[in-house]
């Protein structure tokens, strides 16, 4: 078994080329594979397609937390169900990039998960009942099956998946915690190449087979987040306290 464990995020992303299609979770800052995103930014590859849940403006300075939107200058296309949120000015922050050619494909959360699953299972497409009669129909084939309307949606295959997980063993078996699972499991399966950043790297045998959520077959590289990395327990706690001290954020989060 080739060694999957890398000690540096920069090395883990070293062979990602221009034009890559990369999936990464982002539902809340904490569940985001921040260290891999920061490494991708440092690498500077261009013309990326980013598939992610929550594409919102950077709220914190990059040394405190990073998010997929930090990659905007390197992106050619965005596939997401959430472009901006009302409290942060909505989708306005991507407009200057759209004007310069950024393609934005909006979808629903359930549709994106389903399309990723379709990509993972090598399906040719899915007939989706969600979005019938709405903007989601635009430019797509429709079909009536057993009297019901469906929209034909194409699968999403990823060149790379960046996964944030709680623990990994050296074979790449992953477990998650709480709501950090997000789109991680399906993205790991939909990608040709999966890189995971984890809170804790364990020895083979330390994860109960019944508890493995993402099997190691889907994971190619693992990096353990160092003490001074992003998205550590300490940094996340600091973020919570900082958000709590900002009036509009406090109202939203504890309202």
């Amino acid at each position: 078994m080739r060694n999957k464990v890398f000690s540096s995020f920069d090395e883990a992303v070293a062979d990602i080329p221009d034009g890559a299609c990369i999936g990464m979770d982002s539902w809340a800052i904490a569940a985001t594979p921040q260290n891999l995103i920061a490494a991708l930014k440092r690498k500077g590859v261009k013309d990326l397609t980013i598939v992610t849940h929550c594409f919102i403006p950077m709220i914190f300075s990059e040394d405190k937390a990073t998010m997929p939107s930090v990659l905007l200058p390197q992106m050619k296309k965005l596939i997401t169900p959430v472009v901006g949120i009302a409290h942060l000015g909505g989708p306005a922050f991507v407009e200057e990039y759209v004007e310069r050619g950024l393609e934005v494909e909006q979808t629903t959360i359930g549709t994106m998960s389903s399309r990723l699953y379709a990509g993972a299972a090598r399906l040719g497409g899915i007939y989706n009942p969600v979005g019938v009669g709405t903007i989601m129909e635009e430019g797509k084939e429709k079909r009536v099956i057993d009297g019901k309307d469906y929209i034909l949606e194409k699968p999403i295959r990823l060149d790379y998946a960046f996964i944030s997980a709680h623990k990994a063993d050296k074979l790449g078996n992953l477990v998650y915690k709480g709501v950090f699972r997000g789109d991680g499991p399906v993205m790991a399966m939909a990608a040709d190449f999966t890189i995971a950043e984890v809170d804790e790297l364990l020895e083979v045998g330390e994860i109960d087979a019944e508890h493995v959520i993402t099997a190691g077959i889907f994971v190619d590289r693992i990096v353990e987040i160092p003490e001074d990395g992003l998205a550590t327990a300490r940094k996340l706690k600091e973020m919570i306290y900082e958000l709590h001290s900002i009036e509009p954020a406090r109202k939203l989060m504890f309202g």
Binding site: A28, V83, P91, G110, S114, Y117, V179, F254
Partner: protein, 219 residues
């Protein structure tokens, strides 16, 4: 000026629709307040991957917040016995399954029960999970303002804003009324205290059917 129901009162009334054993997803805004008023035994679902979570962490007990446990907009909650955590794919299979009740906010609802709640069309909006929720829920309850700030109706013949889904709303609770969507049309069942059916009709675009047992909203 006659008093309309405030946000908390709308939430209280909508929460009365939830029963012990219901699996419920609450949308952003007023629906979220429904959790405070629901009866014991309602099981809450959050889109980002948990079912049966516990009470929300208040601003004055921040030390209880664990960043692994938060809802769709980032609010922290305390894990509860019987809780399950799962991925978003699974979460949305639950949402599409027909096993859940959803309380959603709306910008507009049409006389046939179409809902528009993701964009006013003026600039882009965020689609999120609302279309999935509107499709897959066994019961769709809407909480909304009866009118815009300028006093225009939000309950309309046809939605003018980009649609979330057609013909899916079952019940609408506004700051003035409780309206049931029926095959025959919109049935006005309850009015805010002090309001008459005629006054509510004035502020509603489609013709309402007045329930024979019309009564005031009780909280």
């Amino acid at each position: 000026m006659k008093q309309r129901l405030d946000r908390d009162a709308i939430a209280k009334r909508a929460a009365k629709e939830l029963k012990d054993g219901d699996y419920v997803n609450l949308g952003l805004g007023i629906p979220n307040l429904c959790a405070l008023h629901a009866v014991e035994g309602v099981i809450f679902h959050t889109e980002n991957g948990a079912m049966g979570y516990g009470p929300l962490v208040r601003a004055d007990e921040l030390e209880k917040a664990d960043f692994h446990y938060h809802d769709a907009i980032g609010r922290f909650w305390i894990p509860a016995p019987g809780m399950s955590c799962f991925d978003v794919l699974t979460s949305f299979v639950m949402i599409r399954s027909g096993r859940m009740t959803v309380i959603l906010g709306a910008l507009q609802v049409s006389q046939k029960g179409d809902i528009a709640n993701w964009s006013t069309g003026a600039h882009g909006g965020t689609i999120g999970g609302a279309m999935d929720l509107a499709f897959g829920s066994k019961r769709v309850i809407v909480t909304m303002d009866h009118n815009t700030k300028e006093g225009k109706p939000r309950i309309v013949r046809e939605c003018t804003y980009p649609l979330t889904r057609k013909e899916c709303v079952d019940l609408v609770v506004t700051d003035l009324a409780v309206i049931e969507v029926t095959p025959e049309g919109l049935l006005l069942k309850e009015v805010a205290p002090g309001w008459t059916a005629e006054e509510v009709q004035e502020l509603t675009e489609p013709r309402l059917i007045i329930a024979p047992d019309l009564k005031e909203i009780e909280l």
